[in-house]
């Protein structure tokens, strides 16, 4: 571990190193600002506009985070399956079982 490596901790560490976190919070801040400002234009009530800002921020963060993490989980699962398939292919290459598997896959793609 390099001594010059920057050590982050707390929210900065979470936002820098967690997939989907940075974009969630950026979109959240933008969505909150837009939501709060729009509410202010509609009602001219600064106090409630701040409430709308916080609610918009929370909703935008969650609305981006949930689908993003779901897609990330799907990609993770696919990459594991691909890795496993490659390892199986390498291990079984040249064996009769590999030929049987290849022919079964061809029949599967044709049907």
């Amino acid at each position: 571990m390099s001594d010059d490596a920057e050590k982050s901790w707390g929210p900065k560490h979470f936002i820098q190193n967690t997939p989907c976190a940075r974009n969630s919070f950026l979109y959240g801040m933008g969505g909150g600002a837009v939501g709060g400002f729009a509410y202010f234009l509609w009602t001219s009530n600064p106090r409630r506009s701040y409430h709308a800002l916080v609610v918009s921020f929370t909703a935008t963060v969650l609305l981006y985070w949930v689908p993003c993490r779901y897609q990330y989980a799907q990609k993770r699962l696919k990459s594991r399956m691909i890795n496993q398939g490659l390892k199986t292919h390498i291990v079984m290459q040249g064996t009769p079982e590999a030929e049987l598997l290849a022919s079964a896959q061809e029949q599967g793609t044709k049907s």
């Binding site: 901790w9 560490h13 979470f14 190193n17 916080v54 963060v61 993490r69």
Partner: protein, 239 residues
């Protein structure tokens, strides 16, 4: 191993630990949002110059602040329970090893194919080489093949210990008279450190665990080496 002043989790070396990190990320976001909401509520209340002296109840807000936390708890509990049962799953283990806690060292047994047994003592400060971790290195490491499903049976010979390897997401109490089972799979080659996690006497802090994940061919060579009659005396082994 952990770096100095590290606060977060270690990098994952097993699929279960990866899932724990993802669950941690999920719960951390929920907590950050709740904390932001609480701080905002405090700010609004402190900055308000009005007070309602005759306030006795508020049915709507009481319903809201009961239902929303219940929903949050469900959102946290469902993945938590899924992960909890995932850690117990054992997928046709190809190797079984036994880990026995003693005061104050661990002993390991590989009895599937050959009878390999050895003790694992912490290396004292005087025996460390340059670059070795203080209080973490041992004389005989637990060598395991990478990408292999391993069953670890954990028990103890005297008092309760706990066999822990944080980067693999493993922790299991070693209880005398009881056999606890762990599922282990190292997804990458490397050396993974852990320490006893149940107070067990004077040297509780000085009985570490070191797992060395190696390719299968290297593991086979290690087994041959361990079975070599000439090295028995230098490895504190029993056979």
């Amino acid at each position: 191993m952990a770096t100095p002043a590290q606060l977060g989790l270690m990098d994952a070396a097993s699929p279960v630990m990866e899932e724990m990190i993802y669950f941690h990320d999920h719960v951390m976001l929920v907590l950050i949002l709740i904390t932001c909401l609480i701080f905002y509520s405090m700010l609004v209340l402190i900055s308000s110059k009005y007070i309602y002296r005759f306030l006795t109840d508020g049915h709507v807000i009481e319903t809201v602040w009961t239902v929303i936390p219940a929903i949050i708890l469900v959102v946290v509990a469902l993945p938590s329970l899924k992960l909890l049962y995932l850690t117990d799953e054992l997928d046709n283990p190809q190797l079984t090893i036994k880990s026995v806690g003693h005061q104050w060292y661990w002993s390991y047994e590989y009895t599937d194919y050959y009878d390999i047994e050895f003790d694992s003592y912490m290396l004292p400060l005087g025996d460390l080489s340059k670059g070795d971790a203080r209080l973490l290195e041992v004389d005989n490491r637990v060598v395991l093949p990478v990408d292999t499903s391993v069953r670890v049976l954990v028990t103890a010979a005297d008092v309760i210990h706990s066999w822990t390897v944080p980067s693999l997401g493993l922790k299991m109490d070693a209880v005398p008279g009881r056999l606890n089972q762990l599922a282990l799979q190292c997804s990458r080659v490397g050396t993974f450190y852990g320490q006893c996690s149940e107070i067990c006497g004077a040297n509780h802090s000085f009985m570490p665990i070191v797992i060395e994940a190696v390719p299968v061919e290297v593991f086979e060579g290690w087994c041959d080496m361990m079975l070599d009659e000439e090295s028995l005396g230098s490895l504190n082994m029993k056979r």
